[in-house]
């Protein structure tokens, strides 16, 4: 194995500004979600169909999670698979701009009920995701020898396409563009594909690479990684028509509800394996990303438990269970894992871009490139972890005591997102400083 394998590198990766713009935008949408929670308070946490609840949900799913996942995919494909996203700079600019406008229009549309805002949201989000899905699909299809991560990413993108199409259909019905008879089942299927398909499969695929790499664990066992994503994806394909059949009155609800346990068990196996691998890591040092991931994995198990409790006759009719499940899935699992991942991706990329430039300029010993801990100090990331955990606790308690806890949970979410934004900007500022020092060295030669 010699120099010919060097094509698998960050050299093909886009400039740092491409993923960073997505990463920095995410906590800003998180702040807007926090603002809604502060203003609307209990209203958001009592009914999943309340306009403010729908606005907040989409600010988190599209604005926070979606932004980070889109940025990370554009960055990871060249690094992990040696397959750059075609025309990545214009694609990133178009996707970022269209999604930002679309998310703002959608959230304002929900809050105001103005039809024109829904039309704007549907157009911009539809176009933004279309460009993203096409560009990523081209990069994914070019990979000749796909591993389990790539298989998961392909299925995640197919799930995203399904989620977006369902979202556009529901949005068109919601804004009165078309008549929609099955709003509730379609919304649940949209949610299922979004969370268990797009978010879940991408997390699984990325974990296969980054958990062993950054957390120094053994590799995930092949007997889990090879079938897992396919099983989850195919069970979702069967679940959707079952759920629609329930919506049409042709099937009892327990059939699709029992079926969805299959992908849920798949995720439990994934979470259990991740926790087991983390126990066997080579260097048993406490690490903020590790703690974010552990939180996420524990909440996967908690969500399954909650889902099962929700089946019992006493709890079945309680809307609080679906809201709690939603909060735990979004904030407990998805936000925890994605937020934790950022604390590895951002300092690593920052360090690598600077180091690469330093080597190219042969400026070793002249300009000091900060290491990852200097770019993203533990004391700052740990502070945000505590804010995130506090938010999780407050959101959970606020379901039982909406006033005044919903408002306080909003404040806590605001603190958490502000700290995340501050940490990301600190790394970006440090990058600019050192990059300038390297430029000064280049001109002084």
């Amino acid at each position: 194995m010699q120099a010919s394998r060097s094509s698998l590198s960050l050299e093909q990766a886009p400039p740092l500004s491409v993923p960073l713009r997505f990463f920095v935008t995410a906590p800003i949408f998180g702040l807007l979600a926090a603002l809604l929670l502060i203003i609307y308070g209990p209203e958001i946490l009592t009914n999943r169909w309340a306009p403010a609840t729908l606005a907040l949900t989409h600010l988190i799913t599209l604005g926070f999670l979606g932004m980070i996942m889109c940025g990370a995919m554009m960055q990871m494909l060249p690094v992990l698979a040696g397959s750059p996203v075609p025309k990545v700079k214009p694609v990133a600019t178009a996707v970022h701009t269209l999604l930002t406008i679309g998310i703002l229009a959608l959230a304002s549309g929900f809050l105001s009920g103005i039809t024109g805002l829904f039309h704007l949201a549907l157009t911009t989000l539809g176009l933004g995701f279309l460009i993203f899905i096409i560009a990523i699909s081209i990069a994914l299809m070019r990979i000749r020898t796909p591993n389990d991560t790539i298989h998961s990413m392909r299925l995640a993108i197919a799930s995203l396409a399904t989620t977006v199409m369902l979202g556009l259909t529901i949005g068109a019905g919601f804004s009165g563009m078309t008549s929609l008879s099955q709003l509730i089942p379609l919304t649940d299927i949209h949610l299922g594909w979004g969370i268990l398909g797009w978010i879940g499969l991408l997390v699984v695929g990325v974990a296969y690479q980054v958990v062993p790499m950054f957390q120094l664990t053994p590799e995930y066992p092949k007997k889990l990684t090879t079938p897992l994503s396919w099983v989850i994806f195919s069970t979702l394909i069967i679940w959707a028509p079952l759920y629609l059949a329930w919506g049409n009155g042709h099937l009892s609800k327990w059939v699709p509800d029992s079926w969805i346990l299959l992908p849920a068990i798949g995720y439990i196996l994934f979470a259990g394996t991740t926790l087991w691998l983390q126990q066997k890591r080579r260097r048993r040092v406490s690490d903020v990303t590790l703690l974010f991931w552990r939180t996420g994995m524990i909440f996967i198990a908690a969500c399954l438990l909650l889902w099962l409790i929700g089946f019992t006759p006493i709890t079945k009719a309680q809307p609080i269970f679906s809201l709690l499940l939603g909060i735990w899935l979004l904030f407990g699992v998805a936000v925890s894992v994605v937020n934790g991942m950022l604390y590895k991706i951002v300092p690593f990329l920052t360090w690598f871009h600077l180091q690469n430039r330093q080597v190219a300029l042969m400026s070793m010993g002249k300009v000091k490139v900060p290491n990852m801990k200097e770019l993203m100090p533990d004391r700052l990331t740990r502070r945000q972890l505590y804010a995130h955990l506090t938010t999780l606790l407050l959101l959970t308690l606020a379901l039982f005591w909406p006033y005044p806890l919903a408002h306080i949970a909003g404040l806590s979410l605001g603190v958490s997102c502000s700290l995340l934004l501050f940490n990301l900007l600190q790394a970006a500022r440090r990058y600019s400083q050192v990059n300038q020092e390297l430029s000064d060295f280049e001109t002084s030669r």
Binding site: M1, E11, L216, N356
Partner: protein, 82 residues
């Protein structure tokens, strides 16, 4: 002369940092013998830019061994075990 470096228990990008630092200490005839749990693919373009040659070999279940030397140093190249 062989300089040994085991980076198996280090989190990225520490292995790369250590390797780059160790390269600076190589004298004529010296090569670096690195053991790592993963193949350090991301460092290859940097090595190329620095005029450094390398050979990577799988090393049983333990991961990889990487021999690193200056491209123009034929004595170092000759000293690397086959």
């Amino acid at each position: 002369m062989e300089h040994k470096l085991n980076v198996s228990d280090l989190e990225p990008p520490e292995p790369m940092e250590r390797i780059l630092l160790a390269i600076e200490t190589l004298n004529a005839g010296d090569y670096l013998y690195v053991t790592h749990r993963r193949e350090p693919r991301m460092i290859y373009p940097m090595l190329e830019n620095m005029g450094i040659a390398w050979v990577t070999r799988p090393s049983g279940s333990e991961g990889y061994e990487i021999f690193i030397w200056r491209k123009d140093d034929n004595a170092a190249k000759a000293a690397i075990p086959a």
